[in-house]
Subunit: 203 residues, 2 copies
DNA sequence: AACCAACTTGGTCAAACGTCCAACTGCGAC
DNA sequence: GTCGCAGTTGGACGTTTGACCAAGTTGGTT
């Protein structure tokens, strides 16, 4: 008998649920399958969560809190904007290739939440877009450019394109085509970059 | 007691299943919910389909057969390539806005099939990409241009971007942002267009 | 009219499901 | 020490699920 605090048990159940969903899908994530994955008795489930819906709602928030787009860019002097973006998008594709189940979990939960909790999906996508915005800012800094269109608009577009990249790679598993597509995307966004004046210049 | 042929009953059950999934999601599409939607007794289900999985697999093929991207472009003389593309993408967005349930059904079935029948997903996406290819060809004809990159590559990218547009609009329901994004996409693809010589020219 | 194959139907079955609960156990406060 | 509460547990409940079947019905063929 392991004795855990309420929060510890809740956290372990959430992790176990994410693993089960990633491996077998949301439909297979029954209360029994989740507690089996977490190596707990069935009764432990409803001690922590009021219902299965409660658990699923918590997963959306749990995933939202995690940063998906962290540390894409690798600093490199004298790289063009398109190169920086290509490298960043490539890093995301490698992440996708290495653990596709993670994105499939996200898809499963998002499609479920679209019907049962649309607000949660909006919040999740908002943080997703914020991460895209941060990446674009960082890319601009690395490449020494500024964006010629509102950063929020470009961030919306980038997040949308990443959704598409994810869905199409998961559907086709065609990494070569995905990389060709990435170069097209990088060029598309680089079209909205312009060199920034050196800081030695006057205001 | 309605007396139907095997194919008629099968077709009605497929349509009923698509309606149920669109309205309440794949998880709610139980055998009983489907036959209730089709106004049939429960026994009729397993007379036509060997199992529920059999029905779901049939839905993937059923949806794949339907043309999603038909008649996007409206003929218009003296329109630039970007204008033609913008108009086509706008038409798709209007379709998405008018019946989002249709795309949610597709999403539900696709995510399910990713785990249980990856080949079916690849086939579905292949027809999707073929439709994107046809649209790009038609757009080139309307705008009087040719593409400066292989049509297959551009088609893969367009299909991917459409996936992203669909997913991000379903998540945010932000039609204004989606339309701004569409103009960015249209410009991106138009960058790979070049005017075609008049047919009066030699060779 | 007799017949057969195709079709229809309501009921039944075991399994799996989400939820709940009463009894039990161990830890910390007093 | 002992008391109380937070944590733990296995079993049980009623419902829903996918699947199955035997009996009934219909329409066309002979």
């Amino acid at each position: 008998m392991r004795r855990l605090s309420f929060e510890e048990r809740r956290s372990e159940l959430l992790d176990a649920a994410v693993r089960v969903i990633g491996r077998e899908g949301l439909a297979a994530a029954t209360t029994r399958a989740i507690v089996a994955e977490a190596d707990m008795p069935l009764g432990a489930f409803h001690y922590v969560f009021a219902s299965r819906d409660d658990l699923i709602a918590a997963i959306v928030e749990h995933i939202t809190e995690q940063e998906r787009l962290a540390a894409w860019m690798d600093a490199d002097t004298d790289a063009t904007c398109a190169e920086v973006l290509t490298r960043g998008l490539d890093a995301y594709l490698r992440l996708l290739e290495s653990e596709p189940q993670r994105e499939m979990t996200l898809l499963d939960v998002a499609t479920h939440a679209m019907r049962h909790d649309p607000d949660a999906v909006q919040r999740q996508w908002a943080t997703y877009r914020a991460a895209a915005r941060a990446s674009l800012s960082y890319a601009a800094e690395l490449a020494g450019i500024t964006w010629t269109r509102p950063l929020d608009e470009l961030a919306w577009s980038l997040a949308s394109c990443l959704d598409g990249l994810t869905l199409s790679w998961l559907s086709t598993r065609d990494s070569d085509a995905a990389r060709r597509h990435i170069r097209l995307l990088a060029d598309a966004f680089a079209a909205y970059a312009t060199p920034v004046k050196e800081t030695t210049d006057a205001d």
